[in-house]
């Protein structure tokens, strides 16, 4: 598969910030994030709950308003879009939601659900053409035509998620944010949906931002992977590079924590992090990972590390990259 060579950029964020106000102070959900997504690639966004990955996904397509910074879509800054621009933009960027139960209006039938974006944007002049398109979309995502008049509560999670996908495709977008699209599904159904997403991309050359907490899924589906921790992207590289040559201590710990369904892989090098993820409300200066970092040093608190390129297409935000590898050497 391999990541596409130097190509056009689809989406780029510059110093993107999203703070939520809470009684205890601003919650830094997304803090100074600079990433780009190339046209036609799948960027995987991983992190644990509360790291801000879903918020980032929503700010990128302006379902949430950014607190600061910009999101460039092609050469336009979507943060500055007015109502009309935004309406046009909605046709170009879509989203598939996490929960196939709550993301579908229970009172609408399958065809009504898929027709909604077409009706909102008045894509077709009449109902006949709309219903032709609905049939076509149902075929595309693998929903049997007989389900057209069913309601969500009659369908299983996999089929519901197919509705969510069909709805996202209806307006022929270029860019789709997938927010944990398979997390609520059992492994077998999960595999079916992952294949569907892969096939759709082969067929229509979509650009995906794939948000998940599941590292095996993200490795399977992404071209490049961005790792988030407490509102910051801390490492970003080609999907195999991340797994074979992780540089950030958090990435290393995260990868070593994945339970692998094999017995012959003996994982002596598992890094067990101490404690919990701290609160993103009023985070202290310096490296966000400091409190749990196994290789932290005194100067880590002095400034917040920026995401910099440390190798070809490998970006890292750590004051002491490689420190953990250096530390481990004597032990071996």
């Amino acid at each position: 598969m391999g990541s596409p060579a130097v190509t056009e950029t689809m989406v780029e964020t510059r110093r993107l910030k999203k703070y939520f106000s809470t009684p205890k102070g601003p919650l830094h959900a997304v803090d100074d994030v600079n990433i780009f997504i190339a046209k036609g690639e799948t960027l995987g966004l991983v992190g644990e709950s509360g790291c801000g990955k879903s918020t980032l996904g929503r700010v990128v397509i302006r379902l949430l308003e950014a607190t600061g910074g910009s999101v460039l879509f092609g050469d336009q800054d979507i943060v500055k879009f007015d109502k009309n621009d935004l309406r046009t933009f909605r046709k170009r960027a879509q989203m598939v939601f996490q929960d196939p139960y709550s993301s579908l209006n229970p009172r609408l039938s399958v065809e009504q659900l898929i027709a909604e974006p077409l009706r909102i944007h008045k894509v077709y002049p009449n109902e006949r053409e709309t219903s032709v398109r609905i049939k076509e979309l149902m075929d595309t995502v693998g929903l049997a035509q007989r389900l057209a008049t069913s309601f969500p509560h009659e369908l299983d999670g996999g089929r519901r998620q197919r509705i969510g996908v069909a709805r996202a495709l209806a307006l022929n977008p270029e860019f789709i944010v997938l927010d944990e699209p398979v997390s609520a599904l059992d492994v077998c159904i999960q595999a079916q949906i992952l294949n569907l997403l892969q096939d759709l991309k082969d067929q229509f050359q979509y650009t995906y931002l794939f948000i998940t907490h599941d590292l095996s899924v993200v490795r399977h589906i992404s071209n490049r992977i961005a790792v988030m921790y407490l509102g910051k992207v801390i490492e970003l590289a080609h999907h195999l590079e991340i797994f074979e040559n992780p540089q950030h201590p958090y990435t290393q710990a995260l990868l070593s924590a994945i339970p692998i369904p094999k017995l012959d892989i003996v994982r002596k090098d598992r890094i067990i992090l101490e404690g919990d993820v701290p609160s993103p409300v009023n985070p202290p200066a310096g490296c966000r990972f400091y409190g749990r970092c196994p290789s932290r040093q005194a100067d880590c608190l002095e400034e917040t590390p920026e995401l910099v390129e440390i190798g070809p297409n490998h970006f890292l935000a750590c004051c002491h990259p490689g420190a953990i590898t250096a530390q481990k050497q004597p032990a071996q």
């Binding site: 379902l63 935004l86 879509q94 939601f97 709550s102 993301s103 579908l104 209006n105 909604e116 709805r167």
Partner: protein
């Protein structure tokens, strides 16, 4: 009938409602009551105001199945005509409260922020006055009469509806499918019309039914205190008040009008409870 497809929510709700015997009973009673009110002039053996002092204080007999009152008026006829008053007040007062309170609650819930604060603080103030007391004061300010009684009861119920609708809207605004609709480019008006209103109809219908009962009760209470419908026009609460001087000897004068209120309210409560169970999304899966 697109709405009544076999798998639609409405159809499933009706199927579940039909299984609830008490709710069905409540529905029948309300239907009968409605017909009674509409056809009161045909059904009532006498006119509600026809006085016949010779026949005053008649106990129940063939001529007067529920007896006569202190002016010799037929109690059955007065109860039949009274259904008109109670149903009108109940339905119109709740419609008034539902519309005005509902709009305020929906605005507060959907837009949130300062607008929400201002509306709900005002409702809090209204809530600090017990509803019946608020209704009494408004009724006093407006003066007696059917229309004023309806307005008084309706305004007193307004804050409750604002709260109910706001809660319902808030629970739906938080759902992912609202976000999905915004993601598709839907406008506020589209979201409210296509997603929020249809989905918060369940609690509103249930509360509406239960509140009609409360409104009838409140109207009866006002009339009982002499602040609602004025005699000779028949109102069940007013008839009860009129019987108080004769309790010792003519108990039936009090028993029957009270029974009419009780049965009506019970029927509405059965129906409301049944609707709630039938619409409860928790039972859906």
């Amino acid at each position: 009938m697109v709405l009544l497809r076999k798998n639609s929510n409405l159809y499933l709700t009706l199927v579940r409602l039909r299984r609830n015997r008490l709710a069905v009973l409540g529905l029948w009673i309300m239907l009968i009551l409605l017909l009674t009110a509409v056809f009161a002039p045909l059904l009532a053996p006498y006119h509600y105001a026809t006085q016949n002092l010779v026949d005053a204080f008649e106990p129940p007999s063939w001529a007067h199945p529920l007896g006569t009152d202190d002016f010799g008026r037929d109690i059955l006829s007065r109860i039949i005509y009274g259904a008109q008053v109670s149903l009108q007040v109940g339905v119109f007062a709740v419609s008034l409260a539902m519309l005005s309170g509902g709009v305020l609650g929906a605005i507060a819930g959907y837009y949130g922020g300062h607008l929400d604060d201002v509306i709900m603080r005002f409702m809090d103030v209204l809530f600090a006055i017990p509803q019946i007391l608020l209704a009494i004061t408004i009724a006093a300010a407006l003066g007696p009469g059917l229309m004023n009684l309806t307005i008084a009861v309706g305004i007193a119920a307004l804050p409750t509806f604002a709260r109910i609708v706001r809660g319902a809207v808030l629970s739906i605004v938080g759902q992912e499918y609202i976000e999905a609709a915004r993601c598709m480019g839907a406008s506020d008006a589209w979201i409210i019309a296509k997603h929020i209103l249809p989905n918060c109809s369940a609690p509103i219908i249930v509360q509406g039914t239960l509140r009609v009962a409360q409104a009838i009760l409140a109207a009866a209470a006002l009339s009982f205190l002499g602040l609602g419908i004025q005699p000779p026009f028949p109102e069940w609460g007013g008839m009860l008040a009129g019987s108080r001087g004769y309790l010792r000897d003519y108990a039936y004068m009090a028993v029957f009008p009270g029974l009419a209120i009780m049965i009506t309210i019970m029927a509405l409560n059965f129906l409301g409870d049944g609707l709630r169970d039938a619409m409860d999304p928790k039972l859906k899966r």
